[in-house]
């Protein structure tokens, strides 16, 4: 069994997405556009893509930023022992039931404090190769998210996970993306612009 990378626990959830929180010290692992999963037992797990990572302020931080000098110690203390978590907004893109991946919205969202894991390459390949990029529509429906950037980041990461088939998979994904977005010039061009920057 490969090692499971835990990136946080669930803060709040809905059908279309959920928010996970973690300590600042854990923040080195998750990345924008990464695929995450929340195993809920009985062969059911929810998949999502991180589309936003944000850090809220609190009264103390507000005071500290205005002070003239912030020492290393204070900085470290405020980051690591803070009670405000780093929040990761995740877009629900599918779920797995009894070993079968569905690119549909999950029937039930994960519950509070469920552990959220980062998907490894194997998971990533398994999820992205199921069906014909059906999960793209969830990303495209997320009006608040920077769709182009999320897609570009995702395609880059998933492409890498495909190893030798990286080029072929990317080509297929881009073709699908263009097909879905051919009537939506601004979104498509922002996605392609982002893809052009990473490739």
């Amino acid at each position: 069994m490969n090692q499971q990378i835990e990136i946080g626990r669930l803060l709040r959830a809905g059908t279309t997405g959920f928010v996970a929180g973690c300590r600042v010290s854990q923040l080195t692992v998750p990345a924008f556009g990464a695929l995450v999963r929340a195993p809920l037992g009985e062969g059911y797990q929810v998949y999502g893509i991180i589309h936003d990572i944000h850090i809220d302020d609190d009264g103390l931080v507000r005071q500290l930023v205005t002070s003239d000098h912030v020492s290393e110690e204070v900085m470290k203390d405020n980051r690591e022992r803070r009670i405000v978590p780093v929040e990761m907004s995740v877009l629900a893109v599918g779920y797995e039931q009894d070993g079968k991946v569905h690119h549909l919205l999950p029937p039930r969202p994960p519950l509070s404090l469920d552990v959220i894991y980062l998907c490894d390459d194997k998971d990533l390949v398994r999820f992205t190769d199921a069906g014909r990029f059906g999960y793209f529509r969830h990303i495209l429906n997320a009006k608040d998210a920077p769709i182009g950037e999320v897609l570009a980041a995702h395609i880059q990461q998933a492409g890498k996970a495909h190893g030798v088939e990286s080029g072929m998979w990317k080509e297929k994904a881009v073709a699908e993306l263009i097909g879905l977005l051919r009537d939506d010039y601004p979104t498509l061009m922002s996605a392609l612009g982002a893809l052009a920057d990473i490739s």
Partner: protein, 563 residues
Amino acid sequence: MENKIIGYIVGGGLKESFRVRLTVDPLTVQEGAFVVIESGDYHFYGLVTDMQLGATDDRFADEKSDRLPAALAKALHGQTLYTNLEVLPALMLERGPDPASPEYDIWVKKIGDTVPHPIPVKTVPPHHSQVRMANEGDIAEIFGDPNVDGKFIIGYTREQGHPVCIDMEKFVQRSSGVFGATGTGKSFLTRLVLAGLMHYNKASVLVLDMHNEYGFDDVASDTKKAVTGLKTKFKSKIRVVGLGAGATIRGQVPDFNLEISTGDISTADIETLSRELNLKETTPTTLNALFGSFKNEWFARFKAMNRDEVEVEDEKGKMKRVPHPDSVAAWANDNGANVMAAEALHDKLRRLFGKPYIVEKPAADSVKNIIDALENGQHVVLSYGEHESDLDYLLVSNLLTRKIRAAWEKKTNEFRTHGKSEPRPLVIVVEEAHKLLNREMAAQTTFATIARELRKYYVTLLIVDQRPSQIYDEVMSQLGTRISGWLGDDLDIQAVLSGLSGRDALRGMLARLQPKEEVLLLGWGVPMPLPVKSRRYDDAFWKELLGGGGKKSEAQNLKELGF
């Protein structure tokens, strides 16, 4: 054999054209391409009338996306920028289910012995039906198999060079037309068609060859190359007739000469020359009076009249000038005609009086000779020799045609009522047809009657003209097969397309035909409109036409002719 798929149906309908999304390089398809839409049990046949560049969003087309990497740009263009074809639906044909499927046997039983024929398109293929270029088999299915007798290859499809035939049997049953602006290869096209008609030999052909182009060998007006005349190839099957005694055509002696007896000229013949001779409204009255006085001899007698006056002494002993007893004025006074009108007519007819081919007593009844030759299955090329003026052309063509039609009408009636032999179909080829068939003339000449009554009397027209817009609409609308070269004038294009469906779609195609190379086949005499690369009129053509299988039929023809 199967051609590759070039696209799929994305829209359109019967009123407008079908729209086809092209999936191959647009450069491989041209306007005028003959395409087949395969949909279930039916094949739809259509003609590409337009090609349009499209984009799912104009901005994809507007902006050159060179900031994207090549691979991305290519993927983007493949999906967001596209070419649509407009396909004019023409025919559909029931093909039945796949022969390998069990439904096929049921279908075969159901249709029995009836072979499905192409019918006009009455329904639409569903979305995403696949579209492919027509192959040789498809073209043979629609236009006929070139190996079958009576099918004449007029040209080849533009892209793939498949032979396209016209059905000679249908061609002679209805009046037809060959059009094209001057210098677009109309004469060569006419030669081709004439060669086909004469070789087919189910109808006699009378060519009113105003410019002496078709009988003997000629030199092409543009390339200065020698052009084989029809007489050279068909030899005794063609009689070349020169107008006027002793006429030579291109330095060669014709088979016989045509002289017109004054007794053959009717008053109606003169009336048709109204515009040419600038005749007044009083003319018919005067002509009637002339005919009343002299009957068939009117022309000769009128010609013989003088304009003299003589001095006579009246009862008071005074000298008085009065018209000569043989003068026009004297005749007019005696017969209650207007002297001024009669004299004016006499003046104007002087142009005819001086024609050497109009004689009182011709050496032979050459009009009858022509009719006999045509009845016996020979073809006649009437060359006007040096009498190339409009006046000669109008007078002789009208007169001859009137006589011929009367002869054929008589034969037809004999055939119908007394069961005599069936008249041989006759095709009269009319050069510069607008001179004879324009709006003013059409009502008076025999040509319009022939065009209108179609094949009732076994006589049809083949109109050759460069200004179809000048031809009377009623005649134009009766033309079954229209073969048109390039036309520039909007009115001409409109005239050629009159009475056809899909006019708008075909309009541009006519204007974009390549001069001397391409012609558009049109009209209800052909199964569907199609632009073709016209066949070359050269030695290879003659070899193909007369060589090989042609020999047998030629021998057979000669036998039929009684040689």
